[in-house]
Symmetry: C2
Subunit: 222 residues, 2 copies
């Protein structure tokens, strides 16, 4: 019985995700689903990206949090073209249904990139498609080397892994190469970029990836 | 329909949790439910505690992870009196049902303290009682000041908050007092201790708390 209900929820989400995907395709808009543990630095990365690429890219953000609108306020202050806060009221992830009414009201044609910042959680968000083009997992070096093996679905589902806060490496016992190796063991095709919002290291490579993805989406059939 | 099913699961878990609690009471065994984001350092804290208090306290640990037995192996190497790994196979939390068959087989009389290390997740584990005496949330200073406000249930449900990795504070922009203030805003009675497994700072206060809780449980009616 339990399994049947969960299956039903998953199937319903897939249908909504496909409808979202079709809407994004009509606008040839690149959409990222940004996921991580709490405090890995998703909002900080978005703030920095929006500031650095202002004038070049019109970036919209849908913020998912259980409570508060703190993140959407930060994103707005950073100069985002669009910021919307979803409060999940207890739910541990964003699903396709939650963003459907938001993207219907948005002017998707006025954006070059839409990022959905998911609830901070390394487990549940990986299970729900939103209709995004790419899933991106942000992973802080403070979280230790074993997490890709302990939370494999998140790393298997993601297309890009951003290893964050590398400026802290001199103060940790963390082995960066081991993080890479464990992530590639669970997902051999995973693209991995190391970066730090604080030092700026690695950000240009991330922006290059963003530009290439935006160009790919623009050339794709609607 | 969805709400009814979720309610049913919650009610069923409460019944099992009460049965677990009765079993722990018969043995006057203190049981902690240790929760945190992934990588906040739950296993590192338990390893250090087991090593530091070996000879004084017989500590058993039930490890909850989606996959791998890495944590139970670490706990065993640290010298735990008992270590058991539960693999949740995708589930984002430990519930009462998962530990029930484990504690039935254990020699609870041979322990002074049992810790259930939950799946790394700041959301879902807070919703499920295991029959524990105390819920403990471990929070790393690398996670930022806003998390108690963004994930309030975890901090409302917890009896003790351990603020971890304070040795990293000189390398972060984190405001420790603000973490405390936000946590106390959502839970004014919360006990908060700051500590670091790496530097050892604050550990003695945590051990004092443990000893007091064990004494309290031993004096409680079975």
């Amino acid at each position: 019985m339990k399994v049947t209900v969960v299956q039903g929820i998953m199937d319903a989400n897939k249908r909504v995700a496909r409808a979202n995907q079709a809407l994004f395709a009509r606008h040839r808009l690149l959409v990222l689903n940004l996921m991580s543990s709490p405090g890995a630095g998703k909002t900080a990365l978005l703030e920095r990206t929006i500031r650095d690429l202002r004038g070049e890219l019109r970036i919209g953000v849908i913020e998912g949090d259980i409570q508060t609108s703190l993140d959407a306020e930060r994103i707005e202050r950073a100069g985002a073209a669009y910021a919307h806060q979803i409060n999940t009221q207890g739910a541990c992830h964003i699903d396709g249904n939650m963003i459907a009414p938001v993207i219907e009201e948005m002017d998707l044609g006025a954006l070059d990139l839409l990022v959905v910042e998911n609830v901070g959680n390394l487990v549940c968000p990986a299970e729900f498609d939103l209709g995004e083009d790419r899933k991106v997992v942000l992973f802080s070096v403070t979280e230790g080397e074993d997490k890709p093996k302990k939370y494999p679905l998140m790393f298997q589902e993601s297309d890009l892994m951003l290893v964050h806060k590398i400026d802290l490496l001199p103060h940790l016992d963390t082995d960066l190469a081991l993080i890479h190796r464990h992530a590639l063991e669970v997902h051999p095709d995973l693209t991995i970029l190391d970066l730090s919002c604080k030092s700026g290291q690695g950000l240009e490579a991330f922006y290059t990836w963003l530009r290439a993805e935006i160009a790919r989406k623009r050339a794709a059939p609607a």
